[in-house]
Subunit: 399 residues, 3 copies
């Protein structure tokens, strides 16, 4: 039964009460046009207002994304549904990063890659485990699928360490004897990007073709909405109104994602202004703030799924999204940087490398046993808090 | 049946033979007053003698602690009993560290934190696995409980790495542009200590309240002494004389812990003299010698439990003690350092960080499968030996 | 049924068709005398030809080694068979390293130790998982055995990190106050080598004596060749001709190993010439090329076993070989270096340490669940490719 408050307690039909409840969240959609107005009408320019309005506008949009993904998952299986969600979530980030890249801001791009990885793996997964764990004592998930993703994250971590190790080692040799130069760093990074990209492609074949059953197909589990008695977080109508068609789900997913991408960009623009007034460093904004905002969609979907005890979707959103950033978005951005004429390399700063490695090690440990509980969520959030403290105090090196 | 030697073979009543055996260990208690005399009677001052006498005196005291803890475990469950043991073991270390801190010796305090973590995780657990493994081919333990502790250790390791990474990265920026200063290191360490402390508090709620059954409650297993046929290591009378009351157990535990703390302090005082005559460095004494002595109580309890195939107690003593040092004692000492007016930070030396990370990585791997055998004990002890070799050769940097 | 091509399709007896097939591979044995002639007849000196001919000659020899090992495994159990294989594989490398050591080339020896570890753990195991995984959807193996080996590898990784950490830390102290000197590095390395060596000896007792059943004895599984319907990769006659005697297996194993060692040495000699003409660095040749060639035997055996779904042999060849290099061959070489009067230490370069640690972390993760599939093979090979890219671009530091 859905949660109802006093004003709806007299309604006898659940479907009717839901009709009353749903619009209350959807009323927040009013902030979408307000955000657009604040952004594009010069007279209304006010970054702080734009920031707050964008935050409010993104909530119902993310909710629609979550519902559309859940309906699609009925047809595609939990794993593929999660993959789909991750892809649409990262589409926004990819667009923002391409903008930054076209202006040569490779440092910002790298910081947002770092932030997206640790944000998804620690913050999103931590909140999912915590939310789900407060309702269910222990939640179980597919160990094999989680383990393959975790291993791919280790691969990504190694790929991020190597260019930094290369710089440190090669810098000890004079340039005339083959020592470090920015060109060599780029020459090293390009084939590494190719290896990551090919690995990602092969992993997609594994997930979608040869071992599809591992990731949950339409026959391997009942429809996602069969649990009629489940408490719904966002008052989805799925139970009452039946399943959406694939076409309807896809259309809503695409439209909602487009708006999330648009509003995310407003947010990012407004944050730069907030950074200066609040005295935050660029690295903190790139790694922590942009990543939280940019991943709001994955965030709400993963937490919602955890709350419904669909941990496999939750984990494939959180880990899958990090994975996609590391193995797909990062190489794509490196390839794109050559098109823009500002070749990027994969050399991250030492604190970024340590943050990514720490995040990946702890998530592997926690996901290794195929079970989660609320204290594991707390542990992931604690690591995120410690890394956020590091990036808060860290001065900007790129000056 | 208890092990009996030739002189007792004619006694038909096991209870009687035990009465004859027990005093033989308790006779060592005579060294407690001797140690006190050597320490406080000026005419008898002789640090080397005090060292040897204190070592002998600590053995029966640790034995009494082990027995009292075992009796308490009957009422509180294995996990909580282990936690209790770890707390009483660390009480001694906390007192010693507070003494050192009041004199501004933050380097010694940090070395003893490092040493306690690696000592418990490698030496105590290694000897437990080896001792238990020589008697039982394979010993099983609760994977979930071990895994939650191991994850918390990873969290602690990350918290110890971050301040060192911060120093290295921030030192590259000039101070006037926000570069590294000791004050910044302290400002970074304080919120990290708060995060660790809160995580520890929440983990206690998990262990003692929401998921108590995972850690073994009074109903989840039979009384700890039901295995009548088990061979007893220290001739405990539990089987013959029945259970102790909670009050008796607690009183003996408190009195024995107080004496262990007292004698431990004698040992630490005497070791400083031995250090200079034997040519040992401060870091070796802090990380290796103080830690072995300071953890003697956990040591004997954990090994005794492993010998009795109660691996869950054994592991919760060893890992739980490290955990408590890292997440509870270390933050508490940092908070206390502000009271003493000598603010401490969490920046450890690189060898200390490497030692802690190495110890935690190998213990996680070994405890990950929920089984132990003697060769896993050897592997933990080998890592301890390698780290001890490192600290033996390492020159004192703080000069 | 064996794979048969068109020309053999009319043969009705499998035994007969195999007779026709086997010689086709064995014809490659003609390259063994050709390689010997190219090496020892001065008129025929041509390093490039020698390189190609040696590569061709090693294929049938490695095939004979694989068959002999498989037959021995019927008597000795899978684990011991794998150990045996690893020993014979590493005999060749040990001989080559002793040659290099006698000329004081400790850098080359260390590079080949690094290369053997990462080559076995990433390349050999990766190709095994890939080959086996293309035939079988999921392959299972003994988790406990794999986990003990993986833990021993972690121990080895820690032992390799410590001397490098020692150098960095001790170098900050002036030499007159006990700072870093090459003699101290050797003094630190010698007891570490002793610890590794003792650990290896105790692990052998565990594997061969106290826990033999874990690693598969003659009674714990059927004969290795009972699967009459299996597709044979190298047209072994085992199924048709019955088992070989222990004596026959051992003789063939010894003769084939001797020739593999001989031809491997030809290859190594020829590679040095190829290095200069192809512009490769010494470190790339040591870590990548020598290791691939030196481990060709383990390589083909492990891949063959994976193809036959005997994953326990495959893994004990690949991981066991790395283990033996790290815990047995490396200490032995260090001890031998004192005999040659050119004491070696265990200080590896930072890229070497990172490569070994990365390899070990990912293999532990992948082998932790007791299952493999083709994408895990791809992941291991990707890490190998990334490390190979690093060593390709890395300039030689030892000039």
């Amino acid at each position: 039964m859905p949660a109802t408050d006093g004003s709806n307690a007299t309604h006898s039909k659940p479907g009717r009460s839901r009709k009353w409840l749903r619009p209350r969240l959807d009323w927040l959609l009013i902030f979408v046009p307000i955000a657009i107005a604040l952004r594009f009408v010069p007279a209304l320019e006010n970054p702080t207002a734009l920031f707050i309005v964008s935050c409010l506008a993104i909530i119902p949009l993310a909710g629609w994304m979550g519902r559309a993904t859940e309906h699609l998952a009925e047809y595609l299986g939990q794993g593929v549904g999660g993959l789909l969600n991750a892809t649409f979530g990262n589409a926004a980030e990819l667009i923002i990063a391409l903008f930054a890249l076209s202006r040569g801001l490779t440092g910002v791009v790298k910081a947002s890659i770092t932030g997206s990885i640790i944000g998804n793996v620690l913050l999103v997964l931590g909140l999912s485990f915590l939310t789900g764990g407060l309702k269910f004592s222990t939640q179980k998930f597919n160990r094999t699928a989680a383990s393959i993703s975790a291993t791919a994250l280790t691969l990504a971590a190694i790929a991020l360490i190597i260019p930094t190790v290369f710089h440190q080692a090669a810098a000890q040799v004079p340039v005339e004897l083959g020592g470090w130069t920015p060109t060599k760093e780029q020459a090293l990074s390009l084939p590494i990007a190719v290896v990551l990209f090919l690995t990602y492609a092969l992993m997609m074949i594994f997930t979608l073709v040869t071992h599809r059953e591992l990731f949950g197909g339409p026959d391997s589990h009942g429809p996602a909405c069969d649990a009629g008695a489940e408490l719904t977080l966002m008052e989805t109508e799925a139970g009452a109104h039946g399943s959406w068609s694939i076409r309807k789900s896809l259309t809503i997913l695409l439209v909602a994602t487009a708006f999330v991408a648009l509003i995310s960009e407003f947010l990012v623009g407004a944050i730069e202004h907030a950074r200066q007034t609040m005295g935050l460093t660029e690295v903190f904004v790139g790694v922590i703030v942009v990543a939280i905002v940019g991943n709001a969609a994955e965030h709400s979907s993963a937490v919602l799924m955890a709350y419904r005890n669909k941990m496999d979707i939750s984990i494939s959103i959180a880990i899958g999204s990090s994975l996609q950033i590391a193995l797909f978005v990062a190489p794509l951005l490196l390839f794109a940087s050559y098109l823009f004429g500002t070749p990027m390399d994969f050399e991250f700063t030492v604190p970024e490398v340590v943050a990514v490695v720490a995040a990946i090690i702890i998530v592997e440990q926690i996901s290794g046993d195929g079970e989660s509980n609320w204290v594991e969520g707390i542990q992931l959030l604690s690591v995120y808090a410690i890394l956020a403290i590091l990036f808060y105090f860290l001065p900007d090196v790129h000056h």
